[in-house]
Symmetry: C2
Subunit: 507 residues, 2 copies
């Protein structure tokens, strides 16, 4: 037993060293997206390729496999949900996955991502897909190679999806998303038929960025984001990035003439940040201290952004302060503001989409990615395919690629297979939120009083503090007593928007 304990300790040190190296890569990526000078990209690509290659080398060392086998054979770690047992189980999952990938592919993927992001920024700014196309082609080629190395039962998409949502299956996601679509289409139709429309012009007045930032910081801190272990910066594509056990940074973007992007963007990213900041710090660098999956991560950001941040109760508390912060809201009634921030209307940009249409944006991307990986769609054909599908789902004609297929950073980062986790996040959020209400009582009444910490603590207790103890689908069962279903989400949307648009839905 003392031999095994020495083996575990050695493996733990090895893994923490790997995680520390990974956190350096995270720091480089944060810098790349925030403050790196224009011409810094080529060298940054070399830096990141070096570290990614090195980390891959360390992560796939034969010795790790040997230590894992030794520990597994004697079922070291006691109870199978102990941190030690969880670590061994998840290290094995990650190790078996990583050893399939050659180091040169990992380096090339990393190097390509930096160049591709650089090209994507330029392509998006100048609305020229052609600038990004060669990099998208290269990314697709590399990701298909990655999928082939990893192997899959049904289709290559499975292999990539697993990196973001362990254990998820493409076919199952396709079923969930199409069921969701079958619910959303009639909801959307009924809303479009309603004679009630919010006056969204009140959100498109003058909102000085400095005031938006100050207000955003206040709200983020109130819901539990800790600025002593974090930052808020400005970037074109907002994100949240964990750089270490006490260093989780978020970003947003300010539109002087539109309140929504930064206001709800900051709450969204703070939701991610709160998850990261409340992971068990003593297990940092090991699965017991890691987030479960992107679908669970996204549930935290969407829960705070939508179920909390777009609720009437939330604004009953915050609206007087918002009116002080923004003279443009003077004389605007709370109900009109609340209706405006919840407008449902097909639009071009995913990150600004309302809660009803959002998942259709994801479905579109998911279908395109799947076609790309199956070899049914080439990089060159992406703009046309995007625009056609967009017209079919939203009835809108995409004016240019910056507003279409160039809007998201993901593909330039090599994140193919990532998008579905956003929809999983929405579904997870609704189901968790129902359970929180069942456990904590009248959440809305708490929000009205400006009390957000009971909810935050519940989330920490049930989700954040668990690390990777449970797989996503298992965590859902443990927390809510049932598997993930679309029901909570659909009912939430029907209730909220039925009331706002005065449309009757059967819940």
């Amino acid at each position: 037993m003392s031999d095994l304990s020495a083996t575990y300790k050695r493996l733990l040190e090895t893994q923490k060293r790997i995680a520390t190296l990974g956190s350096v890569e995270g720091t480089l990526e944060w810098d790349e997206r925030t403050y790196m000078p224009k011409e810094g990209a080529p060298h940054r690509a070399e830096q990141r390729a070096l570290l990614a290659g090195l980390r891959h080398e360390w992560s796939t060392a034969l010795e790790i496999g040997e230590m894992l086998t030794e520990l597994e054979q004697s079922e070291y770690g006691g109870h199978k949900l102990s941190p030690e047992a969880v670590n061994i189980r998840e290290w094995r999952h990650d190790y078996d996955r990583l050893v399939k990938l050659p180091k040169e592919l990992v380096e090339e993927l990393t190097r390509t991502a930096t160049h591709a992001q650089d090209a994507w920024i330029k392509a998006r700014a100048s609305r020229q897909f052609s600038l990004f196309r060669p990099w998208l082609e290269k990314t697709i080629t590399l990701k298909r190679r990655e999928a082939n190395y990893l192997g899959y039962d049904d289709e290559p998409y499975d292999a990539l999806l697993d990196a973001f949502e362990p254990g998820a299956k493409t076919r199952e996601i396709a079923v969930v998303l199409s069921q969701l679509r079958d619910h959303l289409v009639p909801i959307l139709k009924a809303i479009a038929g309603s004679s009630l429309k919010p006056d969204v012009s009140i959100l498109q007045r003058e909102f000085p960025p400095a005031a938006q930032e100050a207000f955003g910081r206040q709200v983020a801190a109130a819901i539990g984001y800790n600025f002593n272990c974090g930052r808020l910066d400005t970037t074109t594509h907002p994100f949240c990035s964990g750089l270490g056990p006490s260093d989780t940074r978020i970003t947003t973007r300010y539109d002087e003439h539109f309140l929504n992007p930064a206001l709800f963007g900051v709450i969204h990213e703070a939701g991610h940040g709160i998850y990261d900041q409340n992971l068990p710090r003593e297990h940092w660098g090991t699965p017991a201290g890691d987030p479960v999956s992107l679908g669970i991560h996204e549930s935290q950001s969407r829960l705070w952004e939508n179920m909390v941040g777009r609720s009437r109760a939330f604004w009953e508390h915050w609206y007087p302060q918002a009116q002080k912060a923004f003279p443009a809201l003077k004389g605007v009634k709370l109900d009109d503001f609340y209706f405006a921030v919840n407008e449902v209307k097909p639009s071009f940009i995913r990150v600004e989409a309302d809660e009803v249409t959002y998942n259709l944006h994801i479905l579109l991307r998911f279908e395109l990615e799947r076609a790309i990986l199956n070899g049914d769609l080439t990089a060159a054909d992406v703009p046309e395919a995007w625009n056609e599908k967009f017209h079919a789902y939203f009835g809108l004609k995409v004016p240019d690629d910056a507003t279409g297929c160039l809007q998201d950073i993901h593909w330039s980062s090599g994140y193919i297979g990532y998008f579905p986790t956003y929809s999983l996040g929405n579904l997870n959020a609704a189901q968790f939120f129902d359970q929180a209400r069942a456990d904590l009582g009248d959440l809305e009444e708490m929000f009205r009083r400006g009390e957000f910490q009971p909810l935050r603590k519940w989330l920490t207790d049930k989700i954040h503090s668990q690390g990777r103890r449970y797989h996503p689908e298992h965590l859902m069962e443990v927390v809510t007593g049932k598997p993930l279903e679309a029901t909570a989400m659909v009912n939430y949307l029907k209730r909220k928007f039925g009331k706002l648009y005065q449309v009757h839905f059967t819940v």
Copy 2:
């Protein structure tokens, strides 16, 4: 020959990989000093220790020594000043130095520096030396161990000095600095006796930071700092940091009620930045593409800050624009402004010291550091020793440690042996500047016309583009035809300040 060429290529790749890893450490350090959240320090220490240890391991690999020996025995590289020959010579110098240091010491020094900087920031802010003392003690212990591992002929200070100024000797520096002091004291006395005094209150009016930043950026760009490969940020302790071949960042600090710190600080750091940005990019990551020494680096910043930025000709060009940028300068005459920015007066803060007293600040630090390393002074005794010496040199009583021994970041970064390079920088700058005038003609006339690129190009040609081809003392001889002397500096001061204060000095 083809075998040797393969060996050289292999060594080159190895060294570039090491340099790339070093540039990652540089990025982490930049982040640490600019944007890292308060509580991020302990993990940052781990990240940096990991990379420093790794880089040390790579840099001291036996294989490097073997490849060097192979290349040296056949005098690979042709002409001894060819990039290849220079690289082999300098790689050998660095290798022989590094192999003497155990990896654990390198890791510990790095880890300690992050913690010590964190403690230093807190100590300085709260004016409590006691918060920093244990870290200074630890740093001293580690640096003395480092000096012992490295070895030295005369005294431990030599061993540390060599890291910043290759080949320099403590005893020689002591001679130069005391000779300089012997010149400075009578100059200072004569100036103090002059009835002329500038009205410095004109620099202590309202100077909004945003206007200072805009003006600073304009000036930095005009003298040749490239913002596409750089940035300007705000930090307590200004610095310049090279993060890669096209990524050199500078920082400054703004005082709303004092124009000097940011104005001359930006020019100073831009001077460092211009050196880095004009190193031969094709040799990045090798000695042929590296700066020579800190004394040469500092000559670039001081030359731009003082010989250019505090010259009357410079302001003949810039003053009208400064008056537009800063309403506080309305009605202030150019001559009064020029005199005010050149006030000579003993003061507490090194980085804000005038050109005459500056080197006395260095002498004080040099003497304390030497005593510390020789074991004649302990960390606990530093504040008292500082204050006594300060009184002796400047006739001023230090009001608190933040204004005294806590003012500089260097000791917290483990930079002991660094300070003398500032004085070398001043001497180098004056001697280079004389030569530039001899080669280019009337520099002042160019400055009056806003032409700074002839000087910048001369510096690039003579100094920047040389990388580490020559050692510092040799470079001086190649560029100016004579060894480094205090003469140019002393004559420059006598001419400039004799005229300003209407005092007669024999030049």
